[in-house]
């Protein structure tokens, strides 16, 4: 339980139209574009304006921008990076009204960061859906130097911030949108847990 077997990783949804919404914001990144397209088809005929936010930043290099441009009825905002999208999502939500529904699709890192914004605006589980796409590479937070490392795939890795050898725990923090990593040989110096591939 110290390292593995902790059930704090969010259970993600499948995007589908949320009933009763008066305005829909669909935000995605990389291969999450596929879920956005599927959702758009399911939302045909639904009331309320739809705003599309899409970031081309992708771990696997998938790009659905051209496909999303085939929906000229909906405002489409493209971004070069996930961070730029998330900053704009923050501005969009700060001006939005009750009745808004938010749909997120992309990597776990993207979903977690976007949920930090959604939570700031008190959007609840009945107003937001999150669909994970791609691999489950982890965003990891070092408890010692506060460095976040993206795309971690190994149980044991060296922190680029403080150079300590860390072990990635299965403890996911929604507040930090990251898994927690701690010094790997803190109990017995030199004794490292087995290096293993994470369940990506």
């Amino acid at each position: 339980m110290l390292i593995t077997g902790i059930k704090s990783r969010p259970v993600y949804d499948r995007l589908q139209p949320l009933p009763g919404g008066r305005r829909h914001i669909i935000a995605g990144q990389g291969s999450g574009g596929r879920a956005m397209l599927r959702l758009l088809d399911e939302m045909t005929g639904l009331d309320g304006p739809i705003t599309l936010l899409y970031s081309k930043e992708s771990f696997s290099g998938q790009d659905f921008l051209t496909d999303l441009q085939r929906y000229p009825d909906h405002e489409l905002r493209p971004y070069a990076s996930n961070q730029a999208l998330i900053d704009d999502l923050n501005d969009l939500l700060s001006a939005a009204h009750m009745g808004t529904r938010l749909y997120l699709a992309g990597s776990e890192s993207f979903l977690g960061s976007a949920m930090q914004v959604a939570t700031r605006f008190d959007l609840n589980r009945d107003e937001v859906l999150r669909e994970h796409s791609g691999t489950l590479v982890r965003r990891v937070w070092c408890v010692h130097c506060d460095t976040y490392t993206e795309n971690v795939t190994q149980r044991v890795y060296d922190c680029p911030g403080c150079s300590l050898t860390l072990v990635v725990r299965d403890h996911y923090s929604r507040r930090l949108a990251a898994f927690q990593a701690v010094k790997a040989d803190a109990e017995v110096p030199g004794e490292l847990p087995p290096a293993e591939e994470l369940d990506t």
């Binding site: 009763g20 919404g21 008066r22 305005r23 309320g48 939500l93 700060s94 939005a96 009204h97 009750m98 009745g99 808004t100 529904r101 939570t119 605006f121 008190d122 959007l123 609840n124 589980r125 009945d126 107003e127």
Partner: protein, 322 residues
């Protein structure tokens, strides 16, 4: 402060008339101790001892959660009711002892809210008063929209206006225009929460407006106060575990009939809201008359569950798992 069976014996320190129908009771510990802590929106159940039976009436606390040297409740006199409120109005005097349960909160403030909107009608203002008291240490904005039947019913609203100023919108019948719930809820920022307490029509209108405007359930909170006249036809049912037959008189609830027969069962709100008294139906020959806000429509249709604090039955035979 003596406690028996978990209830508090409190002294009535003060009784004030605040409208032609509402009296405000201030309750303190006879020994001067602080009372159990509570949060805004909480209620207590007052045990009203009548000659033939003890009535249990829930009342919201309207004093400040930050000052537990006393509790305040507001009792609206309902002449057509079962007699609990009339007994409190006519038979209880300053200095008397009354028995109440410790506070329970089924109508709490949402701590993550970015805007609180309160909609209240008449005596439904009572839980909101302690909620507003709790918000005094918060920077989250709020508005209160409060409708009353006329100037002589407006004292609590005017007290709130004096305390909170323009955040309190009072709608006195014949003085101000009618409350428009749709306008109150329209174009509100994300993270708004609405809390409504008042007559059923006001609650239902708020739920409908919120749904039309796309508000989700997690942002809409309501508390119904039972019209204490809401009885029904007499009927009887059987406790499955002991085989005891319980007669329910027209002015009694199933829960009260169980208690009158000397049994106890779990309860909190006695208003069909909290789910605490949910009981399985083992046998039914007839129809359940569900009046609670707890069971889903499917549960109600299934005939397998009942909320004995409010619901009744029209039946030849009913056996519940108790």
């Amino acid at each position: 402060m003596s406690q028996n069976n978990g209830t508090l014996n409190l002294r009535v320190a003060r009784i004030e008339s605040v409208t032609p129908e509402i009296k405000r009771f201030t309750l303190v510990s006879p020994s001067g101790e602080h009372l159990p802590a509570f949060s805004g929106g909480s209620h207590v159940v007052v045990l009203v001892a009548n000659p033939d039976k003890t009535l249990r009436n829930p009342y919201s606390l309207l004093s400040s959660p930050y000052d537990t040297s006393s509790y305040q409740i507001a009792v609206r006199r309902v002449d057509s009711g079962r007699g609990g409120s009339v007994a409190l109005h006519d038979n209880v005097n300053e200095g008397d002892l009354i028995e109440v349960t410790p506070p329970v909160n089924l109508f709490p403030l949402i701590k993550q809210a970015r805007l609180h909107l309160f909609i209240a009608g008449g005596v439904g203002i009572t839980p909101v008063i302690s909620q507003l008291e709790e918000l005094r240490l918060s920077n989250v904005p709020f508005e209160l929209h409060y409708a009353v039947r006329g100037e002589e019913h407006a004292q609590l609203g005017k007290e709130l206006q004096a305390t909170y100023g323009e955040q309190v919108h009072l709608y006195r019948k014949g003085v101000e225009s009618r409350m428009e719930i749709g306008r109150i809820l329209a174009d509100r920022p994300l993270g708004s929460h609405v809390y409504v307490c008042g007559p059923d029509s006001m609650i239902d209108a708020t739920l409908a407006c919120a749904r039309d405007l796309g508000w989700t359930e997690s942002h809409v909170h309501y508390e119904r106060f039972l019209e204490q006249s809401s009885g029904g036809e007499a009927f009887s049912f059987t406790l499955g575990r002991s085989g005891t037959t319980i007669e329910v008189s027209p002015d009694q609830t199933m829960l009260e009939a169980v208690e009158a027969a000397g049994f106890s069962m779990p309860y909190l709100c006695r208003g069909g809201a909290c789910g605490h008294c949910e009981t399985a139906v083992l046998e039914l020959d007839g129809e359940l008359l569900h009046t609670d806000d707890w069971l889903s429509d499917e549960d109600k249709a299934s005939g397998k569950k009942i909320m004995p604090c409010v619901s009744r039955a029209q039946c030849n035979r009913l056996v519940i798992d108790l």
